[in-house]
Symmetry: C2
Subunit: 340 residues, 2 copies
Amino acid sequence: MPLSSSDSPKCKILVDAMGGDFAPQHEVLGALSALNENKSFHLILVGDDEKIKAIAKENNLSLEGVEIIHSDEVITMHDSPTTALKTKQKSSLVIGAKLVASGGADAFVSAGNTGAVAAAGTLLIGRLPGVERPTIGTYIPNLKGITTVFDVGAFVDSKPQHLVGYAKLANVYVREMFGIQNPTIGLLSVGEENEKGNKVTKETFDLLKNSNLNFYGNIEGRDILLGTVNIVICDGFVGNILLKFGESFMKIMKPLLKKTADANFFDKIKIALSRNAIRKTFKVFDPNEYGGIPLLGVKAITIIGHGSSSALGIKNMVLKAKDMHDKKLIAKLAKEMNKQ
Amino acid sequence: MPLSSSDSPKCKILVDAMGGDFAPQHEVLGALSALNENKSFHLILVGDDEKIKAIAKENNLSLEGVEIIHSDEVITMHDSPTTALKTKQKSSLVIGAKLVASGGADAFVSAGNTGAVAAAGTLLIGRLPGVERPTIGTYIPNLKGITTVFDVGAFVDSKPQHLVGYAKLANVYVREMFGIQNPTIGLLSVGEENEKGNKVTKETFDLLKNSNLNFYGNIEGRDILLGTVNIVICDGFVGNILLKFGESFMKIMKPLLKKTADANFFDKIKIALSRNAIRKTFKVFDPNEYGGIPLLGVKAITIIGHGSSSALGIKNMVLKAKDMHDKKLIAKLAKEMNKQ
């Protein structure tokens, strides 16, 4: 007799409580807040047992039904990813990823060292069959909605077949998670014309053109914010530089406006008056709104958060993981990558 | 008897009057405005003779002392650079570059097709001895002043020795033009640590470390706007994408603010009130302020303008060319590149 859906085991989401610049505070509060909003998953927190319990107590939050797995070590933002995976076996990240790998959880959520989370996903959780290189994507707001960019730093020196792999994974992801049936895919280059680009993008262009994907062609740097395509494909070297450049734009906005304000009394008043409206405008660029960024191509749902994630950011990551699980994302990615 | 400085021939600046989206209008008005401000150079305009004269007449401007060289053809923004140089021999760009190459002018100023101007500089004006690849730089405002970025699209697939060449050229340029005695040079990469980067940047890191340049080390995307170094070195593929991404940030600012304004009446009033202050803040990002971007490594001063250059932009380009000539930039670049 098949199990009815009410009998099927609950989705298990594991949160690395020690990842992130404000761990475990933001991690515990965010994860419990997600659980409070959506009770239909099982929450596992991996981290310092005492600290986790203290945070819950201080905030009058119940840990009933929450599984806590104690860990002694922490992989920091300064650790070398692959070295740390080997030397810090008792870290929340390694313990967590291994539990996911063994089937003890369905999803892995961490705002820790991005490189280390990506390495843990690739090496410990493992790649899906047909995936040579997993990829990290990011969301960049455009005038119409959201542009997704793959890859933003999982790997550098990508070969043409890797870039095509990123496109296939991203295609399934954007279709399932954004409900866009046949997302447009653009290849990031230095000119729109087919023959523009470097050696790798020129070869990739031909592969994408002959694929079943909805390939738009080459796009330029400006097309990301203009929203010319749904998915932008690039090597992780370029994607990572772009991502950090874009983030810094938001960071200098405030001091730049302050400079104008300090130079002129009337400008000071005007800028002070409009501060909230300006803040509201730039809220679309806040990474906490998007629930982390996905690592695609590994055997379990893996979400990486910004190091500075707020509790809201962590909550959104956990809810995103639940959504991915409900949409059977991993099975759909596996099916796509197994096709030849 | 040596010539006294008053006897030395005047600096000759050649302006491609047909380059740019608003040519020849902005080109003629901008060049004449520069001449009006600084009479100590000889102005050569290459372009449609009738149109140039008509614009001067309409604006009650004198063409006295201005040399006009007629050209029939125009290389457009859509022309393939190297093909256009061969097939459009009567274009203002080819005629102008050839005149500069023959010694008929000291500086070449064009807001035309960037690729075609770079190709004309490289192939017609020619490279300085010791220069394998010329480079185009750009200015990006940072919190403290200006970050220069080389290369932003002259060439892609740069090898480590090319990137070191860009650094040497940029070092002389920033030292002479910005008066920074020993400018700091950062290598754009995906992490600050020495071992981070792709294959090309890792090799370049070692070459720069062992050079006489003031090498800061690797920098990340965020360091450009933070102003961590004076000079950022990268391959033209990355630089071009960054440049266009950055420009588009400024372009979406207005519609993004409008979106906030349209959603709420009070925000509309606040944003309307602060519009001028916001505009003032972002003025630092206006390319017209900077007088074009230099092509370094060729035998004559070559300045490339944004296609949308205003008359003020063209004027600033001409004055910048005069400044480069006064500072004997080409001789200093030649000396640096001839050292081994």
